[in-house]
């Protein structure tokens, strides 16, 4: 196995050359996909609570979330006889779930067992078979964009991040821009032209021209949004504001997007119904709700998947937190999905079913789950599915 950095070095120069960043004018309607990557390994057990398991309450004496109580409007929300949703997202994600627009896939993840954040994030973003030598120039979102580029299914990819994530590595051009802090476009046309020409023939040429153009385009888009929308975005901030802006851009211009959210590595004092983790989940839930609203009618064409590199230990550790684990819970959201279900292969949650007496097992491989979603969303052929996720037969969870 070669490390990510090592391989990044090998191909950096080669890949930067000849890859031109192009801005897209997406047709007004059609499938859209957003990947939300929770970096740090979020504690899925405090999001989707296995409340029918007595073992859950034994394993987490300090950080378990109380069983749903039908008389309590603010506690955990029972989703079925076994699973409940964290109080922190009850009003947002819970409401979408009840509207059939959210599904959860427990026991999801990757076979990567390094339990290293960085190693596992990389391997998920690359989406390649674990046994093979890794190609760090090729991420699964990049391969999806390559598969969809050309014709009516044009991918129109964008990454809402300061840097381009590994997931989007590949030959398809992908612009990136964080929507956290947006000012006026910095340069007039003449300056932008001179700056671009300075890089003419240089390996950064397309990054330079694409970056300058995208800033102008987003500024125009946001100016329109401010004029046409009655929504007051002054009160939204952080991820919520970003997510709303993402919704507008994906409604009008882009088809596949990527965003990452950090702050999930809760080794110490993660809290329960309230606390650090609950606050992060709350913000995420409000952001995704805002995203769904700002997409307007396109929400019905949109699928969002929320995932994280791994789950955390099923038992709390000595510091009322949790350590790096294995299986996790994926979220699938969308206006047109067949949601309101807990999807995929499942097991009863007890001590015997834990992986290595420590973590959730992985029963639903991320490559097969995402491959199944993509196949349905875009009607991909078997060959196209194989291109995006080599050696992974798509699983149809009947969600999209």
């Amino acid at each position: 196995m070669i490390s990510r950095r090592r391989l990044l070095q090998l191909g950096a120069a080669a890949a930067l050359s000849g890859r031109s960043v192009r801005l897209y004018a997406a047709p007004p309607s059609g499938p859209r996909f957003l990947l939300v990557f929770l970096r740090g390994g979020y504690d899925a057990t405090s999001l989707l609570i296995p409340y029918s398991s007595g073992f859950y309450y034994e394993a987490r004496p300090n950080i378990a979330i109380a069983k749903p109580d039908p008389n309590q409007a603010a506690g955990a929300l029972a989703l079925d006889a076994n699973w409940a949703l964290a109080p922190a997202v009850r009003e947002t994600i819970g409401a979408l779930y009840r509207a059939g627009q959210v599904a959860f896939v427990p026991f999801a993840g990757t076979e990567d067992l390094s339990r290293s954040h960085f190693e596992t994030q990389d391997s998920i973003e690359l989406g390649q078979p674990l046994a093979a030598a890794r190609n760090f120039r090729s991420g699964f979102m990049g391969r999806l964009a390559e598969t969809l580029t050309g014709g009516e299914r044009d991918a129109a990819p964008i990454s809402f991040t300061d840097a381009l994530p590994l997931a989007f590595e590949g030959t398809a051009p992908v612009p990136n821009l964080s929507l956290k802090n947006l000012g006026k476009p910095p340069f007039d046309d003449r300056q932008a032209r001179i700056l671009t020409e300075m890089y003419s023939g240089h390996r950064l040429e397309s990054a330079v021209s694409g970056g300058l153009e995208l800033r102008h385009e987003v500024a125009r888009e946001m100016a329109d949004e401010m004029r046409t929308s009655g929504r007051d975005s002054i009160n939204t901030k952080g991820f919520e504001l970003e997510a709303e802006r993402m919704g507008v851009l994906m409604r009008d211009k882009y088809r596949i997007g990527f965003i990452d959210v950090g702050g999930w590595d809760t080794h110490v004092g993660e809290g329960a119904a309230q606390g650090v983790l609950a606050a992060n989940l709350g913000s995420l839930g409000r952001g995704l709700q805002g995203f769904s609203q700002s997409l307007g009618a396109e929400w019905h064409n949109t699928v969002v998947v929320v995932l994280s590199e791994f789950g955390r230990t099923f038992r709390e550790n000595g510091n009322r937190g949790t350590d790096h684990g294995h299986g996790t819970v994926y979220w699938v959201l969308g206006g047109g999905i067949h949601g309101g279900v807990i999807a995929g292969e499942q097991l009863a949650v007890n001590r015997r079913t834990l992986f290595q007496d420590r973590d959730y097992p992985v029963l639903n491989d991320y490559r097969r789950v995402l491959g199944g979603l993509f196949r349905t969303m875009w009607g991909l052929s078997a060959d196209q599915c194989t291109k995006v996720f080599p050696q992974a037969a798509p699983t149809d969870l009947r969600l999209a």
Partner: protein, 548 residues
């Protein structure tokens, strides 16, 4: 060569122009033409090498493109003093001085400013003074007294006041490191301090870390930056910043937390493919049980444990929290001996060939190339093994390698190098008073000091810093630096406005070490600039300035 640039050449070498418009430039143009006639060092256009030695310094070797680029790697970027030293000493002697700094390295105005800027000097708040141990104790005491207040506005005000003090303390630490990076003569040491702060990353916004980041940089990192790797590992292991950041202060027998143990193996010493297993992580976590931060009073220990207690500054090894079982690490048996186990484990890890290769590779990636030549990494790893991890020796191997010469000019500057090199170049004369603009630029470019949340530190390759979005952001920063409106000469606390005016980048340093080697594209862009500020923007945005 564009007339515009030629005219500006001698306007105010090393100084700051106070002209703010094209009209102003036009107005002084006639005077400048006269001045230029007698200017011996005036350049004549594109040349591969500088044609004339510096008259004032006697007959000195010519500066070649390789010299300038090599100097750019050893330092955070050229300034007039480093160029003069290099020409006087030659490459090997210059390198020896950089590998064995003798101080004092800071120009007096900077040293004076740093001394005056200590927020502990005369300010309220015990937690802002002294070493890490004193600060941690004072922070705990302050928190206690705040919690003792009844809920309400008084408590809220006290909490806010403490928070403000914490921000000031963190900023003072960042300011210190930034001023050193810009103005210290010991530029290699400064780069190594930055490199190790990144390698042994801590995040100021976790727990109480911001109160001690200055101590972490100055006490745990700086003294060992060019020293023995083993000492560096042990110094970071014992520092309260790291103990909080990776949770080892919580790691105790029966309450094992393996966070630090894992990253000590994966990120600090061996690398993710360094040949350790999950079992090694768990065993190392047991070795590290009991290593934490000293409390107000020493723990009450049973007599048989008292001999195992260790206290060094804010660090404490508490044998009552330690797992004394026998461990096996990397196949080696470690008997339960308390703190001695930790020293044995650090010795074991830092003597692994995997560790030598990992550290050599990281250094070469930072200083040589995104994809460092394997033969060079091998030689550096051999030096590491031979010298027990002596960083000065490893870096000598690196900086005298022919592989480095071959890689010159193609390393993309990460934001820290970009911002610091631009400020070194643009504000070479008058010492800036306010480092907040630098911090804002680094924030905006995504590489704030002590601002990386995860323990992997910032990445070091072009791929991570040169995306479409990052390039346009970089140009915005280039404009801020070149337009002089950023407030670098304001008072640090915002209380007073200083001089404004844009820097004169077309200065002597430019003509001596930059202009002769410019590419045609950049020359062309500079020729189209309609003002000095715009000229500055184009130069700082150019591929020539983005790479070293």
């Amino acid at each position: 060569m564009p007339t515009f640039v030629r005219l500006l050449n001698v306007a105010r070498p090393m100084g700051i122009a106070r002209i703010g418009s094209m009209a102003g430039i036009g107005g002084i143009a006639a005077v400048l033409v006269l001045g230029a006639v007698g200017c011996a060092t005036h350049p004549t256009g594109a040349q591969a090498k500088l044609a004339r030695p510096d008259a004032a310094a006697g007959v000195l070797p010519l500066l070649h493109r390789e010299d300038v680029l090599w100097l750019g790697r050893v330092s955070f970027g050229l300034d007039a003093a480093s160029v003069a030293d290099y020409r006087r000493l030659g490459r090997e002697k210059f390198l020896e001085r950089q590998l064995h700094p003798r101080g004092p390295a800071l120009p007096e105005p900077v040293a004076v400013r740093l001394a005056a800027a200590d927020p502990g000097a005369g300010a309220a708040g015990e937690e802002m003074r002294g070493d890490a141990a004193a600060r941690i104790a004072a922070v705990n005491a302050a928190r206690k007294s705040i919690y003792a207040l009844p809920e309400g506005s008084e408590r809220e005000a006290a909490r806010k006041a403490m928070n403000d003090r914490g921000n000031r303390v963190a900023y003072a630490a960042i300011r210190r490191e930034l001023l050193r990076a810009v103005y210290s003569q010991d530029q290699l040491e400064e780069q190594m301090v930055w490199f190790w702060l990144n390698h042994f990353n801590v995040y100021q916004h976790k727990a109480e870390i911001r109160w001690v980041i200055g101590d972490y940089a100055e006490v745990a990192i700086r003294p060992h930056a060019l020293g023995l790797f083993r000492d560096l590992v042990l110094a970071t292991l014992e520092h309260p910043a790291m103990l909080q950041y990776l949770d080892n202060q919580q790691n105790a027998a029966g309450h094992v937390n393996e966070n630090y143990a894992r990253e000590l193996l994966e990120l600090h010493t061996l690398g993710v493919n360094g040949g350790y297993t999950q079992q090694d992580v768990q065993q190392l976590a047991l070795v590290l049980t009991g290593a934490g931060i000293a409390g107000e009073n020493p723990p009450k220990l049973k007599p048989e444990l008292q001999g195992f207690y260790v206290r060094r500054g804010a660090f404490e090894f508490n044998p009552a929290r330690h797992d004394f079982s026998r461990k096996t690490l990397l196949g080696r048996s470690i008997p339960g001996e308390g703190f001695a186990e930790i020293e044995a484990a650090v010795d074991l890890l830092t003597r692994q060939p995997a560790c030598a290769r990992f550290i050599a590779g990281e250094l070469a990636r930072y200083f040589v190339a995104d994809d460092p030549p394997p033969a060079l990494v091998d030689r550096m790893a051999q030096t590491f093994m031979r010298t027990n991890g002596d960083m000065a020796a490893v870096l000598r191997t690196l900086f005298l390698a022919r592989e480095l010469d071959a890689a010159l000019g193609s390393k993309f500057k990460d934001p820290m190098r970009f911002v610091v090199s631009a400020v070194r170049f643009a504000y070479d004369g008058p010492v800036i008073t306010n480092t907040r603009p630098l911090l804002n630029w680094l924030n905006s470019l995504g590489e704030a000091p002590f601002g990386h949340q995860t323990p992997d530190g910032y990445p070091m390759t072009e791929l991570n810093w040169a995306s479409a979005g990052q390039m346009s952001r970089r140009f915005e920063i280039a404009r801020s630096i070149g337009s002089g409106s950023a407030g670098l000469f304001d008072a640090d606390d915002g209380s007073a406005k200083g001089e404004s005016g844009f820097p004169q980048l077309s200065n002597r340093l430019f003509f001596e070490a930059v202009e002769p080697f410019l590419t045609a594209n950049t020359r062309n862009a500079l020729g189209r600039a309609s003002s000095q500020q715009e000229w500055n923007l184009f130069l700082l945005s150019s591929p020539d300035f983005s790479y070293e």
